[in-house]
């Protein structure tokens, strides 16, 4: 990996360079919550001064730009007994995500494994993912962040540039030749020994700021042992089966397909809608049989997929510890608490 340092004022120039020919997506402050704290969101921006690089966590992850909640997969023209199908991947030019935290970059890396893996790669995702330029930015752990427990507190790949705030300048990690070429047009310099030392110090200071931890030791086995545990029913009673957790999860990718006919009956549309395994009909089949009729069985499935099944398949959990689901949950269910309660059954 190549390292450089960039003066803070020059970040605006970097933004400007990228914005010349690309769509820019960046975190902006989108409002205040009822306590007066700022709310952040990823939005399409044109002006560097709109964006907030010191944002905490956006309520909704950037996935809406590469895995939209509602996306047209194909359209049909129907004529009598025949029809033609037209596929559209819904992207025509590259875009830049300017200011993504390590957890969200790691979420993309996990999604890549499923959606770009070695069988049936998904063109809708691939088209956007292969046309994405990512500028990462370091962050300050919030009270709900447990990314360090999930091994997602640092991003090793999956970005073009990663910026770490060292006071009056940024420490820059460069991963792609495109990024290198952009930076060459700016006043960047080789990091000095003191910059290296400052970087290591900054990272270790960040590591000490985590207040929540999730113990993942032997978690796959413990989840298997506790499959019948009553603790799931307790959480099931609390869960409203609303699907908010999947909505705000940067790694949730499941979907449903919905087709509709145009009013003149000559056109039809096939739409992909992101779904949630907590919604009641997630596993319902024709004839009305539901494999997971109770809310606790669906909540349990969510944890088994993320923390057991995915680990079995890819040797890592399908969770980056961003804490969004716990923050958004109307019933106050958080991942660290659920996992701790399951572990408790063992002691």
């Amino acid at each position: 990996m190549l390292f450089r340092v960039l003066r803070k004022e020059a970040v605006a120039d970097l933004f400007g360079l990228l914005a010349e020919s690309n769509r820019m997506v960046a975190p902006v402050q989108s409002g205040l919550d009822c306590l007066g704290s700022p709310l952040y969101a990823f939005k399409e921006v044109t002006d560097y001064y709109e964006i907030s690089l010191t944002y905490t966590t956006t309520k909704i992850p950037a996935k809406k730009f590469f895995m939209p909640f509602r996306e047209t997969m194909a359209t049909f023209i129907v004529a009598g007994k025949d029809w033609t199908k037209k596929i559209d991947l819904n992207i025509d030019r590259p875009f830049v995500v300017f200011g993504m935290h390590a957890c969200d970059i790691n979420a993309l890396n996990k999604l890549d494994k499923v959606l770009l893996g070695n069988f049936y790669p998904m063109p809708y995702y691939a088209a956007k993912r292969k046309n994405m330029f990512i500028v990462g930015i370091d962050c300050v752990p919030q009270p709900y962040c447990f990314c360090r427990s999930m091994g997602a507190d640092t991003a090793l790949h999956g970005f073009d540039i990663f910026l770490t705030d060292l006071g009056d300048h940024y420490f820059v990690e460069i991963l792609s030749d495109a990024a290198f070429n952009f930076l060459r047009q700016l006043s960047v310099s080789e990091p000095a020994e003191s910059d290296h030392a400052l970087y290591v110090k900054t990272v270790s200071a960040k590591n000490n700021k985590f207040s929540v931890r999730v113990d993942t030791t032997d978690l796959t086995k413990i989840l298997d042992m506790e499959f019948q545990s009553e603790v799931w029913e307790k959480w099931g009673k609390q869960c409203l089966s609303c699907g908010t957790c999947a909505n705000v999860c940067p790694t949730c990718y499941c979907y449903g397909v919905d087709e509709s006919v145009g009013l003149d009956l000559s056109r039809a549309t096939k739409t992909k809608l992101l779904y949630s395994c907590n919604l009641i009909d997630f596993a319902e089949i024709a004839g009305g049989h539901n494999f997971r009729p109770e809310s606790h069985s669906r909540l349990k499935y969510r944890y088994y997929h993320k923390h057991r099944g995915f680990v079995e398949a890819y040797e890592e959990a399908l969770c980056v510890g961003c804490g969004r689901c716990g923050e958004a949950c109307l019933a106050g269910i958080t991942v660290p608490e659920v996992i701790a309660s399951v572990r408790d059954q063992e002691s």
Partner: protein, 302 residues
Amino acid sequence: MPDGTNFTDVMADRQGCYHRKSDLSAFEHTCKGELTSIHRLTNLENLFRIRLLDPEDRKRFTFQPGQFVILELPGIGEAPFSISSPSSGHGDLELCIRRVGTLTNFLFRLERGTHVGIRGPFGTGFPMEQMHGENILLIAGGLGLAPLRSPIAYVQENRNLFRNVDIIYGAKHPSQLLFTYQYDMWRADDVNLHIIVEKDDPSWKGPVGMITKVLQEIFAHRDADYFQKTYAIVCGPSVMFKFVCAMLNERNIPMQKMFVSLERRMHCGMAKCCRCNIGSTYICLKGPVFDYWSVMNLKEAI
């Protein structure tokens, strides 16, 4: 992953050699098929014969008994159906479908000659080659005969490669029996056909009860050696699996020789939509056919 800011058309780099599982443009590829005939089986089920129209699709479309396709009606929806026809019939396939939801009810209103979309084939099939030289128990409950009809056809076509073959079929009522016109043909091919219904009517001459009752009677006349040299394929509702598989297990049929076909909701067939997922096993990819050992290791599978 991102290699710059030049736009990359992911569909452009389609390789010359066709490999559906890694080809991005294959993901939403729908083969156009024509409904060549609609055969009424019962009040609720029809057999739809579908001919793929594109010569390229016809050439590529090969499947194993037990695999499924996704049938799409533009604007109405799509759903998975196991293929009910012999695997030797390349671009011509038959789907035995029950009228039960929006898509199937619409399908039942279509006329011969209508074009439908077919994606697939998907999933795993029954490993028929492995079963050569052995006895076979083909066990179906209700609509489970639909996926079982493909391995039955394989056995008929390759009858010399199998020893004793039994079809055990249970239905709720005589009026719900599927493929009645084929029973004599199966028997003529030296296949033992046992049929039982849960509720009889005056015309019914055969046994009445649950499918396990027939199995018990058959097993009483078979020795331990038979069970060691036997493969079993079980298709039906998941409640049936529990009882039937337990019975087969009791008789010491090796778990790797017992196969079931699982039913789940699916929206893609390609391990992406997650709807059929159990843990992290995609039924559409690693199934729908599983041996009993794999089923035992899947929580909530049956």
